[in-house]
Amino acid sequence: MTSELFAVNGISITKVYAGGTGDVVALDDVSISIKDNEFFVLLGPSGCGKTTLLRCIAGFEALTAGRILLFGEGIDHLPPHRRPVNTVFQHYALFPHMTVSDNIAFSLRMLRRDEREIAQTVERMLALVHMAEFAGRYPAQLSGGQQQRVALARALASHPKVLLLDEPLSALDLKLRQAMRLELKQLQEETGITFVLVTHDQDEALSMGDRIAVMSKGAIQQTGTPREIYDTPVNRFVADFIGETNFLDATIRSVNANTADCVLEGGARTGATLAGPAARMRPGDRVLLSVRPEKIAVRPRQQQPGAGHGIDGSITRSVYIGTDTLYQIALDTRTPLIARLQNSRQATDFAVGEAVSVSFDAAACRVLAD
């Protein structure tokens, strides 16, 4: 038993919307633990329940079942205005009739802080988000990126215990979005506040999150650091949603510790890693393997000494994308393999139709649980 105090602790959260054509389950028995001072990302496609989960923490949605603890205290009975969490809304929701300063001061005024203290905090917040010269402007006079900063400052002003961010970057253009990622990360580190960010953008999640929870169909599929999520996906959804991957149908021949000896369709053999929920797989089981394109080594066939772990194939397509070249390689399997080779290396170029031998480490090849 760990006695660690989590910033947010969701226990068996279920949220069901009663609909005309039947109930819609938005969250299905979701449990989540978000650490203090952590940049936590809820990642998933639209409709996966990530925003609903965020709104449950903020208090905009009542839970159908389950509990939410904030630093160990139950907050389910509290209305939004009594929860020490603030939200940065997707469309900012700045008060259009108030200046930037008044927007930022809003929460402090509601908390009846001393006016002098409010002025100081507003000034500090404006400096924090580099908006000092816009204090007297109205939201309509600001650009999208500037409104974004004001929304951040407004939500941070009362120093909430947790800051919730609902797709905060989705309304910005690409350049700005990338710059804001770094700034958000920096802001989280500077303020020491726990950030919970909702996004459907895997790049955003990987570049900002200390830990990521991948959600689908109202349930959390996997929680872990960006590296864990990318390198050791537990199931097909996570492997597919984060980055690019190759799926290979295989049958387990034998299991040795956490490595499985697998036979691919067509008879080629490869090693694969068994871990997490996939550890229960036994010899004879039909499984799905996942290999990232950049983890695949491609060699001309004649150089291959003919050892056990080389799979014969031929190049069917080659796409040059600057830093890398993507090769589509036909194997004896149903789906062709995609390999991604870096161009900076002194790698040989392969021509379409060339006979090659592909290989990958057992560590880079994951057996998926489902």
Binding site: P79, F89, A93
Partner: protein, 313 residues
């Protein structure tokens, strides 16, 4: 080489085209302008002119310049020695009308705001039915409606019958022929003028701001006061003026429901053209009312432009 002073011919032709288009658009206004000039501006001019003439013995005017009407508004002229003594009688009528209109406007706002809020937050399909229902009273003539109201609230009317029957009162409530009766009449007549602009303003309101405010520790009443009301202000101002201005000069409600006992501006003016046959004084009373209304409108326009400046979207 083309001289930089002369604009390129393309720009010039575009400029001319824009002006032609503007002229063509102005033509669209001409029917309305004609009606307004013929039926509003001209009669108004006549009224202003009449207010400076001398009353004829049997109504009408005698074409002799006089400021007597305006003097009469504030002073009483002694019949024998022609001295002027200040008389607040007419000012009192204006003051009473002002209070009556203010009460009616406030009441309309208090009734109209929750109504408008309710309608504005309905699903799209239901909204339009409700807006249509708000206009139902206007399908019936105002006079008929006011008389119906009189029957309802008079001493022997169903309202008092019900109250007596329920034992809530010992004697019929005196509502008809009192200021309260007039107030009820004004509220009933002008309530939709309050509801519709309020509805339009609240309908445009972004309800995500309510969520944002509650997220930032604001309670419900604070959200109403600090976020919803300020943003609905253009609607509040428009609705208030649409109720206040016609209430100030209302004629039918005070005449029928007030029994003409407590004169209001509308009755006073009507009386000058009918019973008293003092057209210049009636005209002067109307001009004074109009001046007050124009001042109110000026405040409105300034308020509106200020609000728009704040939220230039």
């Amino acid at each position: 080489m083309p001289s930089p002073a002369t604009p390129p011919p393309r720009a010039a032709s575009e400029h001319a085209r824009a002006r032609r288009r503007l002229k063509a658009r102005a033509l669209l206004l001409s029917p309305a302008l004609l009606v307004i000039c013929g039926l509003l501006v001209l009669p108004l001019c006549i009224i202003v002119v009449y207010s400076f003439l001398t009353p004829g013995t049997y109504g009408g005017v005698v074409w002799r310049f006089s400021t007597e009407s305006y003097v009469q508004f504030l002073f009483e002229r002694d019949l024998f020695d022609d001295t002027l003594a200040f008389s607040p009688a007419y000012l009192q009528i204006y003051w009473r009308s002002f209070i009556q209109a203010l009460v009616a406007t406030t009441a309309c706002f208090l009734i109209g705001f929750p109504t408008a809020y309710y309608i504005a937050t309905l699903p799209e399909r239901k909204k339009y039915m409700w807006v249509l229902l708000i206009t139902v009273p206007y399908w019936i003539n105002l006079l008929i409606r006011t008389i119906a109201m009189l029957f309802l609230i008079r001493n022997e009317g169903p309202l008092n019958h019900a109250l007596l029957f329920a034992g809530l009162v010992d004697a019929p409530l005196k509502i008809a022929y009192t200021n309260i009766g007039v107030g009820i009449g004004l509220i009933y007549t002008y309530l939709p003028f309050m509801v519709l602009p309020l509805y339009a303003a609240i309908e445009r309101f972004d309800f995500r701001l309510v969520e944002a405010a509650s997220d930032l520790y604001a309670r419900r009443w604070t959200i109403l006061r600090r976020v919803i009301l300020p943003l609905a202000m253009p609607g509040v101002v428009a609705g208030s003026l649409l109720v206040f201005i016609p209430s100030l000069g209302a004629f039918i409600a005070p005449d029928l429901l007030g029994g003409g006992k407590n004169l209001m501006i509308g009755n006073l003016i009507a009386l000058q053209f009918q019973g008293s046959r003092n057209w210049p004084f009636g005209s002067a009373a109307a001009v004074i009312l109009m001046t007050i209304v124009l001042c109110a409108l000026l405040v409105y326009v300034r308020q509106q432009s200020k609000a728009r400046l704040r939220q230039l979207r």
